[in-house]
Symmetry: C2
Subunit: 436 residues, 2 copies
């Protein structure tokens, strides 16, 4: 048999172990689908426990980058270390050395897209990054190779399993945020330090990658508006439910006549929207094209096996290219190198949507008149109002919730600033956008 | 500029017109994504009305196959005529002449897979057939290029928009089948002759293509078990609803230790399953892989624009291959030529699932005892029973519905045969499978 395709695995963590298991279990199928033998022959790892559990022999594993990157036998380097220091060096050196690269590293691709993507375009090797966004949903491949005839206007969805698990618990069990987070940590759906998931950064990394691919350009991660879910309270979930909505953390990559709009924030979603039914750690993405119409894909967002499935899908794509001596892969960002340019996002101030505004006011006469006057003066039209009374006799402050018609973000922000200066306002007003 | 990629469009019907519109509207994007100019330069059509509305000049259109197939300038032939006579000749001759082919023809690919696929493997040109199953959902591309690391165990779903539209109307408006069909015809969701859609043949064509691709082999369309929706009555929908189910026409392509199982029939689906929420003409597909877990994709199933989007996605894939002088495309059925073999389906008798059985019985004593004895003797365990009484005093026959636990199809069929011979059975017993 001719020479097999040789792989080096960098990082034997949760996903790396999944990749080893998948190769072990599905090897016959993989060979049949590539038409050539393929083997994991080296790994980069320093943790003795992980090396031991990997099934690789000690002479196959090292913690030296040269061991992997300078070996001319290695065809594909799998980067599963994460972060933007050593991972960045591995990817750039591997591409520079003519190797193909597969990565799941969303932080690196989002925050250093202006370095990584030009390097992939210039490289002789191929590049796969499907596992960086929603492991069980082939959203990047669909944008790059499926919906290529369409002008895409929106890619939005639930792309962080931890945040969705927490919001689902809050919705189903009436838990508060802290209780739901603790439960998610106990069950392994949230990390010990959950900051990146609950504050929206992880979602924003994925939004940046989706922007790059859907709109064929290089976007600046720092222009993405990011809000997490830590300020969502049970009362917000309860009022949303009463009005037929579910609260979800959404990542949005939109293109309209205003420009490119990339943002992450909690949204109220109508219960008859399929996205509202996505529970627990699952992910789902809505893609709209001008001929395609709306499509929704649902699947596992993270976890060892689904992410390994995405990594191996990329390995097989590259394996097929290598097995057939191809010179070119589909362009990593779908467009040609010549048309790949830097692109700007609009500010969050420029967006228009419906809003949920929760005010905490002293329960006395004249309050509503003053608040609604401010909103009217700022061109905000109110669709409905709910006043929650606790009826325990001793209440001095009550929540009042407004659902607005379509309004401009900057008008809404200005209203909130004015409202929050009123003497009878007890707490800062809470804003949640409505996904109409 | 170097020579553009040249396309011939065979058939300017609903989808063909959509393709022309898409090229017209999104040409700048398409060029940017291929990296080369691409043009529709010829069409095959005889209907003067269609030719006139196409915007092509009269010297660009002909009804002679040679006009398109013998022109060495043509790189890609788009077959949108349908059926298995002229369309088959076009595809085989085009491949034989070294041209690439894109088709939406599910009937041909299902009923002649043993001719078409070997021809695509042998051909110098490339082959695209994404539009043959669920236009707005890139299910073929996902199976061929996304979920390639996985052993697939199931591809099931709602893949006929007409049947789903009718069942949705029956569910939402309590219409009977005939009324819902007439309404669907009025709105253009059902054809004048709706046989293929409502009897399940169209779904079965798509199931055959999904079997071929998910399980990397050639399946015989005639082995697929096919039942349509014409026997579903409002009472079935009503009882299903009472028990928390929705009735949908499902196509199923399953692989298990029993073998390959391909079938089309109405199913009761639990309302908390996302597939139960798919309404109107939309399609949705569940795919299960051994590492991926379950994924669901939702989108437009048919229609001029979504189908055109799928056709143009294939054109762009091939355009990129041609623009980059590639010699090989991803294998059309995902596996290599050497591993592509004929495969057998199991018989419907071999399946096991839960069942909904609606008996129509004379309302008298002892009936239930006899029926339940037959079911017990055939190893069928009953989960629940509902007896619908019309209470109008003159009722002589009443419906009795059984929900069974998991049972073997052949045991259930044998029970029904025995039950239907009982003297107090007024109408043949109705069976609907439950998607547990």
């Amino acid at each position: 048999m001719e020479k097999p395709i040789k792989i080096a695995l960098c990082g034997i963590g949760t996903v790396g172990k999944g990749v080893l298991e998948l190769f072990d279990k599905n090897m016959a199928l993989i060979r049949q689908r590539i038409g050539k033998d393929i083997q994991i022959v080296k790994a980069l790892e320093k943790d003795p426990e992980k090396i031991k559990s990997s099934g690789l022999t000690s002479d196959q594993v090292s913690d030296s980058l040269d061991f992997v990157l300078e070996d001319p036998e290695i065809d594909i380097v799998i980067e599963l270390i994460g972060g933007d220091t050593i991972a960045k060096e591995i990817i750039l050196r591997a591409l520079d050395n003519g190797k193909s690269v597969v990565t799941a590293n969303k932080a690196l691709l989002a925050e250093h897209s202006d370095v990584i993507f030009p390097a992939t375009y210039a490289a002789k090797g191929f590049f796969g990054f499907e596992a960086s966004v929603a492991g069980g949903i082939p959203v990047l491949r669909n944008l790059r190779e499926g919906f290529t005839g369409d002008e895409i206007s929106e890619v939005s969805g639930i792309i962080n399993g931890t945040a969705n698990y927490i919001l689902s618990s809050m919705t189903e069990n009436n838990d508060d945020f802290e209780t739901a987070l603790a439960e998610a940590q106990k069950l392994g759906y949230a990390e010990a330090d959950p900051t990146f998931d609950i504050e929206g950064n992880d979602t924003a990394h994925k939004v940046c990658i989706l922007l790059n691919l859907a709109y064929n350009g290089l976007f600046d991660f720092k222009q993405i508006h990011i809000e997490g879910i830590t300020k969502i309270e049970p009362i917000d979930i309860e009022i949303a439910r009463e009005m037929g909505y579910t609260i979800k953390l959404l990542g949005k990559a939109i293109s309209s006549e205003k420009g490119y709009d990339g943002r992450v924030h909690p949204s109220l979603i109508k219960n008859n929207n399929l996205l509202a039914s996505v529970k627990g750690p699952f992910n789902a993405l809505l893609i709209k094209g001008n001929f395609l119409g709306p499509t929704i894909s649902y699947g596992a967002g993270a976890g060892s096996h689904p992410t390994a499935s995405a990594v191996v899908g990329d390995i097989i794509e590259i394996g097929r290219l290598l097995a057939n001596d191809r010179k070119h892969q589909t362009f990593p960002l779908s467009c040609t190198n010549e048309t790949l340019i830097k692109k700007e996002l609009i500010s969050i101030d420029e967006i228009e949507t419906e809003y949920y505004l929760r005010l905490t006011v002293q329960d006395k006469a004249g309050v509503l008149a003053k608040v609604t006057k401010i909103m009217g003066d700022n061109n905000i039209s109110i669709r409905s109002m709910i006043q929650k009374s606790e009826n325990n006799g001793s209440v001095v402050s009550v929540p009042v919730v407004f659902f607005t018609h379509n309004a401009k973000e900057k008008d809404v922000q200005r209203s909130i600033e004015q409202i929050d200066q009123l003497s009878f306002i007890e707490q800062p007003t809470r804003l949640i956008r409505i996904d109409a």
